[in-house]
């Protein structure tokens, strides 16, 4: 257990370094900067001398490698720099955004697991039945839907027409506000989970040890409870982990659409303004979340599958 944890954590640092380097590189080849952007959108015309001073102050003139080294050094000490736009420390901005994001992602994943895994199970236990057909059609639609369009449709139906739920915003952070964005965000993973759960359960139902279980004289229900569930879970958890981890990144669109004050919407705003320190902070957060979930999944394997424990 500790070994798995240690090995995982040792992977975190190089991964983060690579991500930071990649983002740095992308921003350096991107045309324009925070300051030229201020001129371009016509909000103001700035005296070239002032621009020059700002560039110096923000360190945009320094060589790329030097800036990279500085950034990595600061990050290592927990300082993610200062936002160009708000002049606030990025860590402080992130700290107000991280909780809403986590909440949204958790809610979306809960929805995806509850609905997706249940549907997948029911479909696999009755292949060819109406519930199988219906849930698989639903799953294909769920996978093909664009979050953006689906989110708008949810808003239209439940907020505008039925007026059951608020259309956007964080509100008091309660359940009523989170339902629509969580469903919009969770529908993709839900569909994928329904399909993979179905496949996993069908796979296990054909395994030799399930035939052994039947030869023992077990009812089909016992066979499923005693021998199928856990084995199918091993396969399902992989997909849960992958989806869960990438969900905070996927949340960008939904957060923007529902004006949800999370890391994703902060990132979109910052990208448009070339507010590089903030964008980097957001990306680091998203990557860190992905790595954390992956570690948890690895630990979950160890708990569920004895073959991993002893390796």
């Amino acid at each position: 257990m500790l070994l798995v944890l240690g090995r995982r954590l040792a992977n975190v640092v190089p991964t983060m370094l690579a991500v930071v380097a990649l983002v740095f590189l992308l921003f350096s080849v991107l045309p324009g900067s925070f300051i030229s952007g201020m001129n371009e959108d016509g909000r103001s015309t700035i005296d070239p001398a002032v621009m020059e001073r700002m560039r110096k102050e923000m360190g945009l003139d320094d060589p790329l490698l030097e800036r990279f080294a500085k950034y990595v050094g600061h990050t290592a000490m927990g300082d993610l720099g200062t936002s160009f736009r708000t002049r606030e420390p990025v860590t402080k901005m992130l700290s107000t955004r991280i909780w809403p994001s986590l909440k949204l992602v958790l809610a979306a994943m809960t929805f995806a697991i509850l609905v997706g895994v249940t549907l997948g199970f029911l479909a696999a236990l009755r292949p060819g039945s109406w519930i199988d057909t219906a849930s698989m059609v639903g799953a294909i639609s769920g996978l093909s839907l664009s979050q953006f369009w689906f989110g708008l449709m949810l808003m239209y139906l439940f907020a505008l027409k039925l007026q059951w739920l608020p259309s956007f915003g964080y509100g008091d952070g309660g359940l009523r506000h989170i339902i629509l964005p969580a469903v919009a965000l969770g529908v993709g993973p839900m569909a994928l989970l329904a399909r993979t759960t179905r496949a996993a359960v069908l796979d296990v139902l054909n395994a030799d040890f399930v035939r052994t279980a039947r030869s023992k004289g077990m009812s089909e229900r016992r066979v499923v409870e005693w021998h199928v569930l856990r084995n199918a879970l091993v396969l399902v958890i992989t997909i849960v982990g992958l989806q869960f981890g990438s969900l905070m990144g996927q949340a960008v669109v939904v957060e923007k659409l529902f004006a949800w004050p999370g890391v994703g919407s902060l990132m979109v705003d910052s990208v448009f303004q070339r507010d590089m320190p903030t964008v980097q902070g957001c990306i680091l957060m998203i990557v860190l979340f992905f790595l954390a979930i992956n570690t948890l999944v690895d630990l979950a394997y160890v708990v569920i599958d004895p073959r991993i424990r002893y390796r």
Binding site: F209, S215, G217, M218, S219, W226, N231, P306
Partner: protein, 325 residues
């Protein structure tokens, strides 16, 4: 002769294909007496495993029982309701499978997988059941069973896993043990141990055995009577010794000829082992007439046009060949 423990009468197993139904197995009849060991031999794909599954009531799509009777201890079970079959399975007829690697649940300790039998069939609570599982492991001579009951299948060797399978199958003292190629996946030295263990335990408990194998020698050693299956039919059935002494069907003859013998090479020099040319036909393309005719060395015109009837042999034996009787 009093009523046999198991009587399979004119069994037919249907295989549903694309709009067509094939007979994967047909006209299969045999009887097993109480405590008797009966062998079913044939190449892969001849229908012996699905015959075993049919006896267990475990045929699954696309296979199904097409006809015939399966009588256990005087009671017809081929149409028994599912709940009735569940009570029989494990309790009165148990099964051992070919692959000890995959036949056990990888995520469940072996002791628990044995204990399930006592919980299912004898209403034991889990604690007692685990105690008895330990005892069952001791009976199949797994060393230090008190530790091994907590082991997972991947921690045991192939031979040990097969011992666990035997412990599971014999847990509730069944009347009939169906062993489907129980040693095929094991090393030769382990094979002998497992066969001996099975034979010994079954003899002690009076359990009859339906032994299924492609290995004629192995079956003849353990079983009193042997039936040889080819392409879904029984082609010959005799007492084990007689099969070797006077094989009556060309296929049986071929099987015996192709057994490698120790010392043969020293005596006759390096030679290719004898083989039966050709392969078992697929279920969708059984030849007309005698199904062995494309591979038979003694084939004549009549073999290609009509299926041979059963000819009786001494001591309740039978053969299905035009060149007999």
């Amino acid at each position: 002769m009093n009523t046999p423990l198991l009587k399979v009468d004119n069994l037919r197993i249907a295989l549903a294909g694309d709009g067509v139904t094939y007979n994967a197995v047909e006209n299969v009849s045999f009887e097993i007496g109480r405590g008797e060991a009966f062998g079913l031999v044939g190449e892969s794909g001849c229908g012996k495993s699905i015959t075993a599954l049919a006896v267990m009531g475990l045929l699954r799509r696309p296979l199904s029982l097409g006809g015939g009777r399966i009588v256990l201890d005087g009671q017809e079970i081929q149409d028994a309701p599912a709940a009735e079959m569940r009570r029989l399975r494990g309790k009165r007829i148990a099964m051992i499978f070919q692959e000890p690697m995959t036949a056990l649940n990888p995520l469940s300790p072996v002791g628990k997988q044995i204990a399930e039998m006592f919980v299912l069939h004898e209403g034991a609570n889990w604690r007692d059941a685990m105690d008895r599982a330990e005892e069952a492991l001791r009976q199949v001579r797994v060393p230090s069973p008190e530790r091994r009951i907590r082991d997972y299948p991947h921690q045991l060797s192939g031979g040990m896993r097969q011992r666990v399978m035997i412990a599971i199958a014999l847990a509730c003292g069944p009347d009939l043990l169906v062993a489907d190629e129980p040693t095929t996946a094991l090393d030769v030295t382990v094979q002998a141990e497992i066969i001996d263990l099975m034979a010994e335990l079954c003899a002690a408990k009076g359990t009859a055995v339906l032994m299924i194998s492609h290995d004629l020698g192995l079956v003849a050693n353990m079983c009193k009577r042997v039936a040889v299956m080819y392409a879904g039919r029984i082609v010959e059935s005799q007492v084990a010794d007689a099969i070797f002494a006077t094989p009556s069907h060309p296929y049986t003859q071929g099987l015996i000829d192709s057994l490698p013998r120790l010392g043969e090479r020293a005596r006759r020099g390096r030679q290719r082992l004898t083989e039966i040319s050709g392969v078992v036909p697929s279920i969708q393309a059984y030849p007309s007439g005698c199904r062995f005719n494309p591979r038979c060395p003694a084939v004549t015109d009549v073999c290609r046009s009509s299926a041979p009837d059963i000819t009786a042999l001494p001591a309740d034996g039978l053969v299905r060949c035009h060149h007999h009787g």
